[in-house]
C-alpha cells in the first residue's frame, strides 16, 4: 500500500468544485491525476462497512482507472487498515477532516466516480454490491462484488467522522478518538499471595462458575494465535460498548477454557454479534428469553472439534462449550450485560452459560445451513440467532414426511406466544432420523420449509374481538388460510422466517424448535460471518 502524503498536491480542482461549489478553498486531493477516470472513496478505518467495502475496489484495473481512498483517521490506523485488508490502491489521509468537512459526505464509505474531466458522474454511499457492480460496469469492468462471497448484499455505512459530536470542535488533527481502532492495553492485576486465583476470578469475572485465571502467559499465547496486535479493537460490545480488544477477548477465552486456535472463530463471532443487524444491545437487555445461539458450519468443525451429533445442545465437547462460554463471558465482562444487572431477562435462558451447536452436515442430505445463508460449501461459517431455549418435538410414530412436518408445525405454532403471528422467526433443528424420512419422501429443503410455512397456523376461533390477549390485537394484519379444512391465521410472514438446521444423534426421532426474539429491522436479524481458513 502506498500512503500518500496529505500535502502532495496533485489536485484536480474540478473534483471539489463540482462537489461543493461554495468551498473553492477546500484542500486538494493528493495523487489525483487529470485525464483519467477515477474512483475516490472517503472512509473510516474502524467502520465495519468500510472494512467490508474497500477491498472490493482492489479488483478494478488500475491501469485504466485511478482508485484513491481518503482515510478520516490517523496514519497508524490507516496503515493497519491497509495491511489487514490488503488494500492494493493508494490511500491518503484527510488530516483534520478538512476534505470531509469541505465535501460533506453524510456517511462512510462514500464513493465518487469521476470522468476524465473530473466531473462526478456517480456517487455511492455505504456498501451495496449492485451499486459496486454498476460502478464497475460504468468503468467498463466486469462485476467486482460476487453474490456468493458471504457478505450481505447491502450494509449501511457509519456517520462520517466530521459529523460526530467529538469532531465538531475541529481542533483535533488526528481525528476523533471516540471510535479509535486501537484500544488501551489491558491492566495487569497482581493477586495477593493469600488470594486463591480461581476464587478471585470466579468472584470478579466468572459466569457464576469457576473460570481459568487469565494469566499473562496464557493470554499471550491466545493473542499470538490471533495474529493481531493485542490492542486491536475487534468491536464495541453493547450495552456498555466496552472495547473488545484482541487481548480482552483472549483473556475471556482463557477463562472459558478455549484452546488458542479458537481465536480464529471467536473474533468473527464477536464481530457478528456487534453487527448492527443482530442488535446485541436489545438482545442483552430484553426481558425476553433470548440468548445468542451460535451455529457452526464447514471444515472448522473437524479442524477444531465442534460437535454436531448426539447431545449437540449439551455439555458434550470442549470446542462447543468453551467457544459458547467465551462468547458469553465477552458479553458479560466487556459488554456489561450482567444477568443480575442490566440483562433484565425475566426467566433467562440456560444457553447463557454456553449456547453453541454445529451442523451435522454428514447426515444432512440437503445443502448445509451456511450455503443456504449465501456462503460457499468449502467455507467455514458462524451464524448467530437470538433464540429461545429449544422445545422438543417427539415423533416416533409417523411413517411419512408430511406427518413428521405436521407434528413439527404444531411446535412452530407456539413460538413467542400461541396467538402471536407474523413477528416471530424460528429455527427447526431436524434430527438425522427425521430428515432422512423427509428427504426419502422427496422433499427438498426448500419444499420442507414451504410445507411448514403453509401448514403452521392458529385456529381463527381462538381469537375474539371482545377479549384482550397477546397476538389478538394484531389479528387484522394476519392472513387467513385453510388447514385441514379449518380456518387458521398463518403463523409466519414468509418461508424465510423458518430456518432448517440438521443436528443431533442418529438414534431417536426427536427434533427441536427454537423461537426468536423480536425480528427484522426493529429487532434482531440473523447474521452469518465467514470464519477465515486455517
Amino acid at each position: 500500500m502506498m500512503l500518500l502524503s496529505a500535502s502532495l498536491a496533485l489536485s484536480r480542482h474540478s473534483f471539489y468544485r463540482c462537489l461543493m461549489p461554495q468551498v473553492l478553498n477546500a484542500p486538494p486531493i493528493s495523487g489525483l491525476q487529470s485525464g483519467k477516470k477515477a474512483v475516490v472513496v472517503i472512509f473510516e478505518t474502524d467502520c465495519p462497512t468500510c472494512q467490508l467495502a474497500l477491498p472490493y475496489l482492489n479488483s478494478l484495473n488500475q491501469d485504466s482507472v485511478q482508485v484513491i481512498g481518503l482515510s478520516q483517521d490517523d496514519e497508524r490506523s490507516t496503515r493497519e487498515f491497509a495491511d489487514q485488508l490488503k488494500i492494493s490502491y493508494p490511500l491518503g489521509l484527510d488530516s483534520g477532516l478538512k476534505i470531509s468537512r469541505a465535501y460533506g459526505p453524510q456517511n462512510v464509505p462514500t464513493f465518487y466516480m469521476l470522468d476524465e474531466s473530473g466531473q462526478i458522474t456517480k456517487t455511492l454511499v455505504g456498501f451495496d454490491k449492485q451499486g459496486l457492480n454498476d460502478l464497475a460496469a460504468a468503468l467498463g469492468h466486469p462485476p467486482i462484488a460476487p453474490a456468493d462471497d458471504g457478505a450481505p448484499a447491502w450494509k449501511p455505512g457509519c456517520s462520517s467522522r466530521h459529523l460526530e459530536p467529538e469532531a465538531q470542535g475541529g481542533a483535533d488533527e488526528s481525528g476523533a478518538k471516540l471510535l479509535r481502532r486501537l484500544g488501551d492495553p489491558a491492566s495487569r492485576i497482581t493477586l495477593r499471595n493469600e488470594e486463591d486465583p480461581f476464587e478471585y476470578c470466579r468472584r470478579k469475572f466468572g459466569d457464576a462458575l469457576p473460570v481459568v485465571p487469565p494469566t499473562v502467559e496464557k493470554v499471550d499465547a491466545m493473542v499470538r494465535a490471533s495474529g493481531l496486535a493485542p490492542e486491536t479493537i475487534i468491536a464495541r460490545v453493547a450495552p456498555f460498548y466496552g472495547e473488545a480488544t484482541v487481548e480482552k477477548i483472549a483473556a475471556n477465552a482463557v477463562m472459558a477454557g478455549c484452546a488458542p486456535e479458537m481465536m480464529r472463530v471467536l473474533m468473527p463471532l464477536v464481530r457478528a454479534a456487534c453487527d448492527e443487524r443482530f442488535n446485541i444491545h436489545g438482545v442483552q437487555a430484553t426481558t425476553h428469553f433470548a440468548a445468542p445461539l451460535v451455529m457452526i458450519n464447514g471444515p472448522v468443525r473437524q479442524e477444531l472439534g465442534f460437535w454436531s451429533k448426539q447431545n449437540v445442545f449439551s455439555n458434550v465437547a470442549l470446542a462447543n462449550s468453551s467457544l459458547g462460554r467465551a462468547f458469553q463471558l465477552v458479553l458479560l465482562n466487556i459488554g456489561g450485560g450482567r444477568p443480575d444487572g442490566i440483562d433484565m431477562s425475566t426467566l433467562g435462558n440456560p444457553g447463557k452459560f454456553s449456547f453453541c451447536i454445529a451442523e451435522n452436515e454428514e447426515e444432512n442430505p440437503w445443502e448445509p445451513f451456511h450455503v443456504t445463508r449465501g456462503l460457499k460449501r468449502e467455507q467455514s461459517a458462524v451464524s448467530l440467532f437470538a433464540a429461545e431455549p429449544p422445545r422438543g418435538v417427539s415423533e416416533h410414530t409417523a411413517p411419512a414426511a408430511k406427518t413428521v412436518l405436521e407434528t413439527i408445525s404444531f411446535a412452530l405454532a407456539t413460538v413467542w406466544s400461541y396467538r402471536m403471528c407474523l413477528m416471530p422467526e424460528a429455527i427447526v433443528v431436524l434430527c438425522p432420523e427425521h430428515v432422512k424420512t423427509i428427504h426419502r419422501d422427496g422433499f427438498t429443503k426448500e419444499q420442507a420449509r414451504q410445507f411448514l410455512f403453509e401448514n403452521t397456523g392458529i385456529p381463527v376461533r381462538y381469537y375474539s374481538k371482545e377479549e384482550r390477549a397477546e397476538g389478538m390485537q394484531l389479528a387484522a394484519n394476519y392472513k387467513e388460510i385453510t388447514i385441514r379444512g379449518e380456518k387458521y391465521y398463518q403463523k409466519f410472514r414468509s418461508p424465510e422466517q423458518i430456518h432448517i438446521f440438521v443436528a443431533g444423534g442418529t438414534a431417536g426421532k426427536f427434533s427441536a424448535v427454537l423461537g426468536s426474539w423480536a425480528t427484522g429491522t426493529t429487532g434482531s436479524q440473523m447474521v452469518t460471518y465467514p470464519i477465515p481458513d486455517k
Binding site: S187, L191, P197, P214
Partner: protein, 97 residues
Amino acid sequence: MKEYKMVVIVHPGNESVPKAATPPARLASLKGKKIGLLDISKPGGNFFLDRLEEIFKTKYGAAEIVRTRKPTYSKNAPPQIIEQLRAMDAVVEGLAD
C-alpha cells in the same frame, strides 16, 4: 493462612470509566414549562402518557407538551429524537407493556 504462588492476570473486563453526568437542577414547578413525553413504542405506552399529558396541562399548568416516539423499543432512540428532547425543560420516558 494458605499461600498461593503470586499470580498476575490480564484484566478481562471493560476498564473504561464512565463520565459522570451532572443532573440538571430540579424544576420548582411545571408551570409554563415545555415537557417532552417519549413513548418507547411498547404497546400500552399511550395510556400512561395520555394521562400524564392531561395532568401536566390541567393540574400543573405546563405550557407545551411535545409527544415523540421511538421507532422501536429494541434500539436506542435515534439522534434526531434526542435533539428534539434536548430543547425541553423536562422529559418523561414512558415504559409500558
